[in-house]
């Protein structure tokens, strides 16, 4: 049986030349291995599958950084470790495994808690206008993704993705403010 590395190199090489079936087979075969790495690195987080998908997206986005004359496994594992660590850091900062959907409910409170002087609207000024508009419409006014999407000429899927991304960024901003504030008062 040929070495896994050779097989994956061959599939990816063909994929990079436009063979979608080979590329699909490559991604399908690496997914369980990536899942193993992610589980080991994140201690079996509930959202491990989201991280697996992030790794697959990263592999896809950076597929041009693999050189055909180099072994594919070190390249692949380095990406998986980087993305798993990155996700671990982000989730570590956010507290233990909060599904992103739940952020919607706690976000306004947490933002208020982060510093007394700042409220959600101050944070919203610091992200781009489009994202801020989506957060206001969905998170504050409680409108549906479909409604907001129709208004902004976006699909509901795109609105939901933009909304979740914006919430994560707001959360980071709120926490970024919280720390210097604590340092000053202590």
């Amino acid at each position: 049986m040929p070495d896994r590395n050779d097989r994956w190199s061959d599939l990816l090489r063909r994929g990079l030349r436009g063979d979608g079936a080979a590329y699909g087979a490559f991604l399908g075969e690496i997914a369980p291995v990536i899942r193993g790495i992610v589980r080991a690195r994140t201690g079996g987080a509930e959202d491990a599958e989201d991280i697996v998908q992030e790794v697959l997206l990263a592999v896809h986005a950076k597929r041009h950084t693999w050189r055909e004359d180099e072994p594919v496994t070190p390249w692949l594992y380095a990406i998986a470790r980087y993305k798993a660590a990155d996700a671990g850091r982000r989730r570590g900062r956010q507290g233990p495994q909060v599904p992103i959907h739940d952020l919607a409910e706690i976000l306004p409170e947490e933002a208020g808690e982060a510093t007394a002087a700042r409220d959600l609207s101050v944070l919203l000024d610091r992200i781009d206008d489009r994202s801020a508009r989506i957060v206001r419409a969905m998170g504050v006014e409680g409108r549906s993704a479909a409604e907001v999407g129709a208004e902004m000429n976006m699909t509901d899927g795109a609105v939901r993705v933009a909304y979740h991304r914006a919430l994560v960024r707001l959360k980071d901003l709120a926490e970024g403010d919280a720390h210097p504030h604590l340092d000053k008062t202590s």
Partner: protein, 213 residues
């Protein structure tokens, strides 16, 4: 979305978008940055009058060639750093020759200079020009290089940024050395190095900020 659905979605888009490899873009980024640095150099500094004659002295030539060597090696290393899993290779060991040779030149100059003149040579007369000039000339090169490296995938963005900083500072210092009239290694091995280290630190910061993906 299920992972299998994601995979079939991605598989429809197998071939990477046709774009120049990261290395080619990095060379372009450095070239653009260098033009920027050269314009600043010509506007504010310009070559010393006796450059060609002075270059016949290997100790003077070394102050241009050593930073150039640093530039080449650090550029190669930064390009390896943006390919996940790539080995650092020989360049990672060779690059240490640059500080070693700078240190050797410093020691040689210390011994060769009469004790009374050592401090004079060490302090020179242009530290306030030298340090900021090296950093300012590095900036456009660093900008161009970091921009190009964003297409890569550094698994340690700060290290990749620091290497980009070293490369930029190497090229900028080689350029600056053609203006600078301080020819004692007591001066240049010290203050050039300090300027280069500062830019490497700036590169590490920039890498942490702009090379994440």
């Amino acid at each position: 979305m299920k992972t299998d659905d994601l995979i079939s979605l991605l598989a429809q888009d197998a071939a990477p978008p046709p774009a120049a490899p990261v290395a080619q873009q990095a060379v372009l980024g450095v070239a653009f940055g260098f033009v920027g640095a050269l314009i600043l150099y010509l506007l504010a500094l310009g070559p010393r009058a006796d450059l060609m004659i002075r270059w016949q002295d290997p100790v003077v030539l070394a102050k241009t060639l050593l930073p150039l060597g640093l530039f080449a090696l650090a550029l190669v290393l930064s390009l390896r750093r943006v390919r996940p899993g790539a080995a650092m290779g020989k360049a990672a060991r060779l690059v240490w020759l640059v500080p070693l040779m700078a240190a050797a030149l410093f020691v040689w100059a210390f011994v060769a200079t009469p004790p009374g003149e050592r401090l004079v040579d060490f302090l020179g007369h242009s530290i306030p020009v030298c340090l900021p000039a090296i950093n300012v000339l590095s900036l456009p090169i660093l900008g161009g290089l970091i921009f190009a490296l964003r297409r890569g995938a550094p698994v340690d963005p700060q290290l990749a940024g620091a290497l980009a900083g070293l490369a930029s500072a190497g090229l900028a210092t080689a350029l600056y050395s053609t203006f600078c009239t301080e020819d004692s290694p007591l001066f240049y091995a010290t203050w050039y190095s300090l300027g280069i280290i500062f830019t490497a630190g700036l590169g590490a910061w920039a890498g942490g900020k702009w090379l994440r993906w």
